[in-house]
Amino acid sequence: MTRNQKIKLYLFMFLFSASIVFAIMFPRLTLPFGFAYIIYLMCKPFTIKLTTGSRRQRLIYFSLMMTGIVFLCFPLFATLYNVDTDFSQFSNQLPEIQKMLQDKFFAYKVMVFEKFGIRLNLDPVNFLMAKLESQGTIFLSHFPDFISTIFEWLLLVPLFLYFFFMESRRFSRNFLEAVPNPIFEKSYVLFSQFNTKFGEYIIAKFIEATILGTLVTLGLFLIGFPYPFILGFIAGVTNILPYIGPVIGVIPAIFVGMLSKDPNVTVLSMLVIYALANLIDMILVFPLLVSKIVNLHPILVVVSIIIGSQLGGIVGMIVIIPFIAFFKLLFKEIYKDLSVHL
């Protein structure tokens, strides 16, 4: 490599690292940008088909975005309304639940004293309620920030999305022109593969979560279990996490089932519903939609989720899988090259 080429390569590496640091320093800009990029990758296969051969791309993209907003927001608001109803019901029942928990814990304390002669001085129920109250206060104090963030995202995400639809090709070409020759071919192909895999994975998980959430909601609704919408919503969202997600998703339902005084509500029937929904997911939905896209070992998936949660919370847990699949691909390529050249 000549001196000029080396300078070019180091300069590119420096600028690339600097842009990553910039992205980390300004999450208010980076997060909606990333979210818009994920939506863009999800829509890309459809937009290519729609815009091919058309000279009215601007109009198509605008109509597509408007249709997307209406079709996505309507069910979201409808679900949120039901979730809100379920949540208000739950809030109204909270004092009752607190009293019941206190009674149950008192009975348990008596039982321990009678059997072992140990006097328990703990009061976990009041501790839990105090914690809930303090967390609620914190949430309320941050509520204006939360609302302003939502409005910021409502403005920025469609803006970035429109930019991705209209300019992404030109932008990526300009960026690729700056990539130094020695790393161009490989980085371009790997970047394209990552984009395709990432888009396919997100779309597949979105469909999978929707199917599972709908199945759980329907099942719970049919057996008359309380809060079917909120529990179905939680089951769908947690299902995005492989292996761990279904287990986390069932915990709120177990609590609701245990606390319910309704004799018709049984934890067993609820568990059957969850098991059936997850079985359908495991046998039909997952093999057809997801497994071919991300071919990773189950242990690697679980370890990745733990690392993802440490790095970026829930979002980190979701997006870490395609990243790991990409790194696997990258290491494979580097290893192949090393084995040839060494």
Binding site: Y188, V189, V340
Partner: protein
């Protein structure tokens, strides 16, 4: 069918040719015009002189150029090394390249000089077609060179967005491969003949 003929046919049938000016097409036609005073050779002119793209219409050449990447190499800069993973097909837009092959499998060696490729010639088509391609030779820029590269993701996109163009390009590439296979077979037959003659002499 050329773009001009397509438009004339549309006008002849009374169909609309598009109700607004398409600036990129106008710019392209301006660049492609043989009366253009611009000294620089346009992509259109360049590809029109490449024999294997002869069957492409003007509009197809215009679309094809949209998928290409312009890469500039300095004299003696390595374009790729023997054994590297291959993903792309290159046209020499300007300059020349030297091809070297290393028969001893010594990675640090550049290898023996095989051939020099000049403007309008191409190389690397196997990288575009094979799933796991390894470059069979090292290519070095013999002078300051501009290459136009088409890579696997571009071909995938081309097949998705302009399937006819993609199929046409693949057919032409298959023809190049078939020609090279034929040439190779003839060379092998010739070599075998020579080996036989040498064996008989011995």
């Amino acid at each position: 069918m050329s773009y001009e003929k397509e438009m004339m046919d549309k006008l002849g049938r009374g169909e609309s040719t598009g109700d607004r000016l398409d600036i990129p097409i106008l710019k392209y036609l301006w660049d492609a015009s043989p009366l253009s005073f611009m000294a620089k050779e346009s992509y259109h002119e360049f590809f029109k002189k490449i024999t294997f793209l002869n069957s492409f219409s003007d509009n197809e050449v215009r679309l094809f150029t949209k998928y290409l990447h312009r890469r500039e190499f300095m004299t003696n800069e390595t374009i790729f090394k023997q054994g590297d993973s291959g993903y792309g097909f290159y046209f020499i837009f300007n300059g020349a390249v030297n091809i070297y092959a290393n028969y001893n499998n010594q990675p640090e060696e550049q290898g023996d000089f095989i051939i020099r490729l000049e403007k309008r010639q191409y190389f690397g088509e196997m990288g575009l077609l094979e799933e796991f391609n390894r470059r069979s030779a090292t290519i070095v820029a013999a002078e300051n060179t501009i290459l136009l590269g088409l890579f696997k993701p571009d071909l995938d996109l081309m097949l998705e967005t302009h399937p006819v163009l993609g199929a046409k390009f693949l057919r032409e590439t298959a023809l190049i491969m078939a020609n090279r296979m034929g040439q190779l077979t003839r060379e092998i037959v010739g070599l075998k003949k020579k080996v036989k003659e040498l064996e008989q002499r011995v």
